[in-house]
Symmetry: C2
Amino acid sequence: LFVFYSTDIDTDKGSLQEEDLHHCVHVLRYKEGDLITVTNGNGLIVSAKISKITKSILYFEVLSFISELPDPIQNAIALSPPKSSDRLEWFVEKATEIGIKQIILFESSRTERSRINVARLQKIAISAMKQSKQSYLPTIVHYEKIATLFQQCTDFQTKLIAFCEMRQSYIQKHIAAGNHIVMIGPEGDFTNEEVDMAKSHGFSPVSLGKTILRTETAGLFAATLLENYKNL
Amino acid sequence: LFVFYSTDIDTDKGSLQEEDLHHCVHVLRYKEGDLITVTNGNGLIVSAKISKITKSILYFEVLSFISELPDPIQNAIALSPPKSSDRLEWFVEKATEIGIKQIILFESSRTERSRINVARLQKIAISAMKQSKQSYLPTIVHYEKIATLFQQCTDFQTKLIAFCEMRQSYIQKHIAAGNHIVMIGPEGDFTNEEVDMAKSHGFSPVSLGKTILRTETAGLFAATLLENYKNL
């Protein structure tokens, strides 16, 4: 079963375009009348029948809803991007697979500058979503200033900031019902000023355990614990 | 702080060889009399003074023990290796960082054959251990037959096998005190016969949640939950 992705799904019809159109028609060689499965990236998955294929668009009729509810818990990981784009892309793939709904990239004072290509990361997330047969596509945003992150994250019930010096307060003890955001710092960690600023915006400093993890490993460690909680 | 790795550490002296010698002397330009930190990969970390450098060996005196106890909990992940060596190497790096003590690679009936270079994986683990300033180096073994795995894993208190069809029995509920092993299958999952064979060897089938994870993601998801339990 292959799941296509489209932002155009109505109650009775919809369309595939661009890469999904290409993959469906030219790679998998689906034809008019064939059945496909399509998700909107936000919990909706439909079974559909291809009604018409043109050069630039594929139209389908919706036959039935396989699932239609957005996930009630929307967790976010805010990550100071590692310098290596491979490591960042790896994080986006894995966080998407395990079900994180929002990936926020931000620059902190010790972040090593690198070019962030959000469009490319979004493509990786779409591919990971399809690969893992999920119906959730995380939103990916990039804030150049850490202050912007604080302004934008008022909707989370639980706000945590991972800080290596915070030995006593283990992350698992802070995970509860509701939406979480966890901030993960750069190699070299957050500065004390950044942690203080986070605290003043309602973030609790937490530890990720005894070992020192790379940024992207720390991000996935936190993501796993957040999504794990939903399965309990 | 850089941590060197050596299997030759005695109570009062030891040596660095090969890559660690090269890195210490030629990259970091340490000299006789300088202080270094060395781990044996099994919980021992010493502070030491370089006493003599020759072309093929660096001798040091042990000044003090920073930590000397092996981790009382030794968790293992048994993974049917993904075809992509990048994905396998990624798994080894991340599992080492978060503290898994044994990585077992095994071929199941749906494993896509690929060449497994254990020596190369061991190097990646050493590098990840140093990078994350840990003192544990996982052992890495490769079994061509799944039956060998069953024969060799009698020492674990909790034995789990991840199986996508096992919807009810979520992994977290099975994690307890003691040493765990979790078996992760290939793309396409274990066969029913393999799961039955595992059950007859004391393994409980468990679910990793609602989403379908790639092999290496599933391995790290399980590894995170096992190591998380130790921090509670």
